[in-house]
């Protein structure tokens, strides 16, 4: 490879990493937290303690929805499992601020008000790809960021001259060289994960980013395109005549027979209460890599099976597996933690990359580097702080407060914004230290605050085998220790001058 070529690609690497780097950090970190979406939701609803079998929970949810939201165009339910007690319900509601509701229903009573009002882990999940922006702009921005990250990863591989020779190399205390080593090690060791999660992230938004294949074959006839892409889904217009929904229990039992070993996962009911209602029951996502692999559809009023479909077409199945790999809903415990750790590594790769960009310009002046150096602190420390604020608000806002769930989200954005403003006002070296010290304290104190507020704490959790609470608290302590270590090191004068070997391409 010619040196000029490498330098050009290094330019591509830093451009693609920098343009949306701060946003990418937030996307990656919220996605990493979303690995534990179920557990976060459970932690944020400490009032729900009684479990029910998934079939009974779905029946309870359908009963409650039938009484309170019979006019919705559809109910989309996710059954509880060994990771979460509540049934998640999404349905359209003109009275809701966004036009739809996304709520958790108690598995026993089917009611949404057993627990405090919160979005739980669903907030972080939605933020990960919608960025709290109106549809579809958040998704467009997220997929653009993902594409830039894919370009950054590919160009990063190309410019890494000694990708195998330096694979285990980390040299501390050498200024920019150490940052480059850290960036490389974090990026290379989990490279298969980084490539997978980035590419499959684009796949989850495929129809949005790449609608041209569909346009080529179907023109504007999206209905046919959708029907051919998902032949398992039966769709029909509402008849306009009311008809009661048949009991859902026997339908769940019939679906389970089709699934064999598999469990019931998602249940959607289109036009409930109408003569043309359709109940679609999908296999649990934890039973195979592929997302939405198998469904059974029923005629709502009679409970008769309309269609059983398991995806077998190679290309569509590949796409479903890629989708499932991104969602990680299949992942058993160990894999879930591996997703989490690799996600953290990716976030750290982005953070070290952003820092490297500044470190490569020690003499740079002007507005760009000035803002970038401060945005680094604001983004890297601010986003975890925002997540912690979300958790704190969950424990501290009064249970009966009106607009409580929105209040938690406001706390998240206020703290994120405040962290960025704080970073703008301080010298970066000091800001790193102070922000991470605050983060460490906040993370370490949260288990205590949570114990005082709920009476469920680490000690009783370990004694009682309450692994959700014990795991949550231990993770917070681990995070506090990490933040404290960063605070202690950040801003420390790096030893020695930067060695200029000119052997390795440096993002320029």
């Amino acid at each position: 490879m010619k040196p000029g070529f490498r330098q050009s690609i290094a330019g591509l690497h830093s451009w693609s990493g920098l343009i949306l780097g701060w946003l990418l950090f937030a996307i990656v970190l919220s996605g990493t937290a979303t690995v534990f979406r179920s557990e976060i939701s459970g932690w944020m609803r400490p009032e729900v303690v009684k479990a029910a079998p998934p079939e009974a929970a779905i029946e309870a949810a359908v009963r409650w929805l039938g009484t309170h939201h019979p006019k919705a165009a559809g109910w989309y339910l996710t059954a509880p499992d060994e990771r979460i007690l509540t049934t998640q319900a999404v349905f359209d509601d003109a009275a809701a601020p966004l036009g739809y509701r996304d709520i958790a229903l108690d598995p026993v009573s089917g009611r949404p008000d057993v627990a405090r009002s919160t979005l739980g882990g669903e907030f972080l999940y939605r933020f990960h790809f919608e960025l709290q922006l109106p549809y579809p702009w958040g998704r467009y921005l997220a997929v653009a960021a993902a594409m830039l990250m894919l370009i950054a990863i590919v160009s990063g591989i190309i410019i890494h001259k000694r990708i195998f020779k330096d694979i285990f190399t980390f040299r501390a205390g050498k200024g920019k060289r150490s940052w480059l080593d850290a960036h490389n090690v974090l990026g290379v060791l989990a490279l298969p994960f980084h490539l997978m999660i980035t590419a499959t992230g684009i796949v989850t938004l495929l129809s949005l980013v790449m609608p041209w294949g569909t346009a080529a074959n179907y023109g504007a006839d999206l209905e046919t395109a959708f029907a051919e892409a998902a032949p398992g889904l039966v769709s029909r217009e509402a008849a306009g005549r009311p008809a009661p929904l048949a009991p859902i229990g026997p339908m769940l039992a019939a679906a389970r027979q089709h699934f064999g070993e598999g469990r019931v996962g998602r249940v959607s009911i289109a036009n409930p209460g109408d003569a043309n209602a359709i109940v679609t029951i999908g296999k649990h996502d934890g039973d195979q890599l592929a997302y939405a692999a198998q469904t059974v559809s029923f005629d709502g009023p009679s409970g008769r099976i309309l269609k059983h479909y398991a995806e077998t077409r190679p290309a569509q199945r590949t796409s479903d597996v890629l989708y499932g790999l991104h969602m990680g809903r299949f992942a058993p415990e160990v894999s879930r933690w591996l997703y989490f750790l690799c996600g953290l590594a990716l976030a750290a790769t982005i953070a070290t990359g952003l820092i490297l960009w500044i470190r490569s310009r020690p003499q740079a002046c002007g507005a760009g580097p000035w803002i970038a150096a401060r945005l680094n602190v604001g983004a890297v420390a601010g986003f975890p702080a925002a997540i912690l604020a979300f958790f704190y608000a969950n424990r501290l806002l009064p249970a009966q407060m009106p607009g409580r769930a929105e209040g938690e989200v406001s706390a998240f954005f206020w703290v994120w914004g405040a962290a960025i403003v704080f970073a703008m006002l301080r010298a970066p070296a000091r800001a790193w230290r102070e922000a991470f010290a605050v983060l460490a304290l906040a993370a370490a104190a949260l288990p205590v605050v949570s114990f005082v507020a709920t009476g469920r704490g680490l000690w009783s959790a370990v004694i009682g085998g309450d692994w959700l609470f014990a795991g949550f608290d231990l993770t917070l302590f681990a995070f506090a220790a990490l933040a404290a270590a960063i605070a202690r090191r950040a801003g420390a004068p790096s030893a020695g001058p930067v060695p200029r070997r000119g052997r390795q391409a440096v993002p320029a």
Partner: protein, 108 residues
């Protein structure tokens, strides 16, 4: 459950691969002929893969193995950074035990 076996095997294998590189061998205080660590190292990595995909659901296991390799490699880097001289012993001890257990596991 195979993670408890795959991780030490992968760690042992990757440690040996790192020790087959001159820079890391020097840091660890050994001057071995690089051929054997390299071959044994690849052997350990391949054995960890074999143990992983021998699980009932090899698709899930393959994803898990990829993640465990990243963790094992990170542990090697951390050991080389903090306690480089302990690496040969850790690699030999952990790797041998895991290899013996793995062979029993695969046969059994």
């Amino acid at each position: 459950m195979s993670a408890a076996l795959v991780l030490p095997l992968a760690f042992g294998g990757l440690s040996l691969l790192s020790l087959s590189m001159q820079r890391h061998a020097r840091d660890a205080g050994i001057t071995a002929d690089p051929h054997w660590p390299r071959r044994l190292g690849w052997g350990g990595v391949l054995l960890s893969l074999a143990v992983a995909v021998a699980a009932p659901n090899w698709r899930f296991a393959l994803v898990e193995w990829t993640g465990l390799m990243a963790v094992a490699a990170a542990l090697v880097v951390l050991t080389l950074y903090g306690r480089p001289r302990a690496l040969p012993k850790l690699a030999a001890g952990g790797g041998l035990l895991a290899a013996a257990a793995a062979l029993l596991h695969l046969i059994g």
